[in-house]
């Protein structure tokens, strides 16, 4: 019986050890760096601005759905992978100051990306955004570029010049993905995260960029005249619609924002310029940076 007792004791000791001790390792990674991602609007967006051709523009409503931050790469260890950075938030960009997009933890040199797109059912509400706003943004609609989609960017405002006032209220339903973002002026690609160091990466939404006449901000000037022209060629009711913009040929608008890679046969109107060229480029990485932009295919 002593042998039996010995065997039983050893057996129970071994098996209990195996059964009660987890073998899956705990998180042994070193402390990560922290990246606070924010979005900020400039003064022009909040208070209005003058265009180069003499119009004064003031936004009454500037909502964007932004988020789904991606931090990745071979040299990057994203501690937050699967940790919930894939959500979006509806922002009222007329709110002053930086607004939180998300917080990311990681180490190494990481590529950075984000997305402007349709709101999801679990999209969060930014400052000054109500459930009613969310309902509006999630209401499906169809336009030249999207079918049965919600609103990614909602812009409403007025433009005034010499006693003439034009109004606009545009819903953009296109989704835009921004990847491999790089800092401006030859800056570093993406973001480098170092252990126990916190840093902030801001996405700037410059208000005047919506009416730039060139892709390169350094060579661009905000011009509203082509947009006013659309209403003048339309029903002259003072309300500039996307349909009226679609009637203005690109050659007439003389806005050079068409992507070199886009078929010119597809990109033909001022509506194209605005929808495919200007709106997707209104979000700028780290102020002067740039990203590889990917748009959903035109419907």
């Amino acid at each position: 019986m002593r042998g039996l007792s010995f065997l039983a004791t050893r057996f129970l000791a071994c098996t209990l050890t195996a059964a009660l001790c987890s073998c899956l390792p705990v998180d042994t990674r070193p402390p990560p760096g922290t990246l606070h991602v924010t979005v900020t609007s400039d003064e022009a967006l909040r208070s209005g601005f003058d265009t180069g051709d003499g119009w004064h523009i003031r936004y009454q409503r500037f909502f964007m759905v932004l988020g789904q931050v991606q931090v990745s790469g071979d040299a990057c260890n994203n501690y937050s992978a699967g940790g919930g950075t894939g959500y979006t938030r509806i922002y009222n960009m007329q709110t002053a100051g930086p607004q939180k997009v998300t917080v990311v933890y990681g180490l190494g040199a990481c590529e950075f990306g984000f997305r402007v797109g349709n709101p999801a059912s679990d999209s969060l509400l930014g400052v000054g955004v109500t459930e009613a706003d969310k309902t509006f943004m999630r209401t499906p609609g169809t336009d030249t570029y999207s079918t049965n989609r919600g609103v990614s960017v909602q812009i409403e405002g007025t433009a005034a010049k010499g006693g003439i006032t034009k109004r606009f209220a545009w819903s953009f339903r296109q989704s835009s993905s921004y990847a491999q973002c790089e800092a401006g002026d030859g800056g570093a690609a993406g973001v480098t995260l170092r252990g126990q160091q916190a840093q902030t990466m801001d996405i700037l939404i410059p208000g005047a960029a919506l009416f730039d006449d060139a892709l390169n901000p350094a060579h661009a000037m905000a011009r509203f005249e082509p947009f006013a022209l659309a209403d003048d060629h339309g029903n002259r009711d003072g309300e500039i619609t996307l349909a009226e913009l679609a009637a203005i040929p690109q050659s007439v608008a003389d806005i050079q924002v068409a992507d070199a890679g886009v078929d010119s046969g597809v990109w033909t109107s001022l509506e194209d310029d605005l929808y495919l060229g200007l709106v997707p480029r209104i979000a700028r990485f780290d102020d002067t940076g740039s990203c590889t932009l990917r748009l959903r295919q035109r419907r």
């Binding site: 039983a8 098996t15 059964a19 998180d27 042994t28 990674r29 990311v104 989609r149």
Partner: protein, 841 residues
Amino acid sequence: MQSTRTRSPVGGRTTLAPRATLGAATVATLFGLVLAATDASAQPASDSQAGAAAQAAEAIVPPKLRDNASVSYPAQALEEHFYDHVTVSLLLEIDTDGAVHKASVEEPRGHGFDEAALAAAQTLRFEPARRAGKPLAARIRYLFSFDPPPPALGGSVLDDNTDVALGGAQLAARAADGGVLAARSATDGSWSVPAVAAGPVHVTVSLEHYVPQETDIELVAGKQTQVVFRLAAQPAERARSKRADIEVTVHGERLPPAVSSFTRAEVRQIPGAFGDPFRAIDALPGVTPIVSGLPFFYVRGAPPGNVGYFLDGVRVPYLYHIAIGPSVVQPGMVDRVDLYPGGYPASFGRFAGGVVSAETTDPRTDPHGEGNLRLFDAGAMAETGFAGGRGTVLVGGRYSYTAAVVSLLAPKIKLDYRDYQARVSYDLTPHDRITAFSFGSYDLLGQQQTGGLNILFGTEFYRLNLSHEHSFESGAVRTDVTLGYDATRLAAQRNAMDRSIGIRSQLHKQLAHGLVLRAGVDGALDGYTADQATYSDPESPAIKAFNNTFPPRNDTALGAWVDAVYDVTPRFELTPGLRVDLFHSGSASAVGIDPRLAMRFKVSDKVRITHAYGVAHQPPSFIVPVPGLSPANLRGGLQTSLQTSAGVETDIAEGTTASITGFYSVFLDMTDSIGSNPTATLNTSADNRSLGSGVGVEVFVKRRLTKHLGGFLSYTLSRSERSLGNEHFPSTFDRTHVANGALAYDLGRNWRAGTRLTFYTGTPKNPTLRGLIAPLRSNTPDRYPPFYRVDLRVEKRWQLGKSTWLSFVAEMLNVTLNKENFGGQQIGPISVPSLGLEGGF
């Protein structure tokens, strides 16, 4: 201890004296009778002369036996199946020194008795006869009595339908005097009881999931009686489909391997199963794979998360190692794997879609073991007895060295899996056995990144089961206590864990001829916890949804069940059952009441009709089982399934069976919303409940794979639908046609080859999401392309001794390197080559 009865030639007194030198069950009777006492001339005397001399000379003292002789029941008689009691009368001439001078047989008996008696006579030593103190030669009649050995009773227990050997069956032999001897069939089905008295004996046999049998036999002294019981599976098992009575009702590898290792041999012959009984499951009708080679499958329309896995009645979260790895239990210790696709016995509950139940081999006291060495891993098991055979100890395990292999191909990838099994059993009495069984499994897939190892997939579970089984004349009682630990690595490098304790007790008892009662109670407590997501965005809806769906909590489940196997007539079996479960999670509770009914009707000796009906309840579950993680939204109610099936089984020819079964299942409040909506996310679908159904026909034809040419054809025509809101559509993994066919051929010289073809229809295409509101899904959607694959297997086997063997096995799953379409994406090819050595002793 054996004994011999000796009658003194002098006084005729009967004594009973211990003797350990005689052969087993052999008794020699010595009866001496003084026939004559003569002078030293030792002349033969007639009986009348001897009698006259005895009367005339009172002073004559007859010879007295001094040294006994050992005799055994002649081997020749046993070989000639002669078992009668025999007395051989010898005439002995004893000289004056007491030695046997001459011996002769008075009346020959044959069968070796005469020779045995004469040989024994030469060893007899007497005190010589005397007259007036003077030694005299004498002639006496001497009787050798041969009692046959006690009758031997044994035999085997087989599955009536498949001839698979059944281990663990309880046998009881009741003799006419009321004495009962019990036995348990070994893994090869053999059984025996020692030293049964001759005469009528009533033998009963019972085994869980099988219809008990009994028989009356007349034991003849010395005669070895072999009784072969062919047990019929209970109707529920039969009707659930032909699970087929194929390899899934299979015995694991028996040791030592021999021609009798029928069941495991069959499993080995299924290409693509890698000799693993668990992997034979996906070849059965009613089973629909999600992706070829992966161990997750639908059963009659129920998703993998609704299929329960049990090992010796112990709930386990999964059966296979990561991806296409081997099973988490050494095949050598798996005695049987049963698939219950529906209408399962009342002892199984808390799973709404099906049950896969495996049983380990019965403890063996003879040293044995087996192992294998493959490209990616090595495994072995060994078992032996101790304490004079009252106890056994078994250890086994598998270890992968994939890290070394994979690192050559992908240096940053770490892949690791291992498992262990340990079991100690001890027979406290011939009717009481205690067993401690511990087993566990570990899987890890990680990627080296800046700052350390990122675990992409990690899971583990461990069990310690302590059981006591008491068998009695007409049944048995078993009580188990199980401790468990499950864990899974989640996103954000945190672990979800489930620490559990379960208690269950079950009884099966034969109440009367043709009536067996089974009943049990069980309870389980699961404590779920999860590490905090240290490096996550606390505002994230996904994190919030996860925490809401999987909060730390204790879940309890209490159940009671009863059923009865009743032979209404010799041809009609009826098994009604009822199971009641009470579930509690967080602050919510729910009750599941599960009636079950199974029937089996023998139309003829070769044709059977089966029916099975049942209700099953289950708490919310994932579409696939995840160790340590279980949804807590019990407020939405239990998942419910209503299961029906009816079929016909027939024995076509020797070794060939066929069956066809129709089934219809209804699923209520299913939580496989991901299965019904592949674009759903956790935070949007956790509370979605769907209504579903599964209907189909299963056909299974099988010729034993161990035949010179064996094989099977398994085909399922089915339709699995879901209703979600106002949508009605095929289930995400609905496959209209699923077919498996296999052939195994004996090439001679211990070479054997096999091939298997697997085919199934593609899954439905979902409409492209073009906005916030997806288009309604069609009930007749287009489908992705079908998939097929071919598996091959070749084995060369060497028999190195009576019980030692070695095999070289080359096997490959998906030799055609076909890619599979999964949700619109081409994946694969998932092809698994396997080269290895297997051996055992």
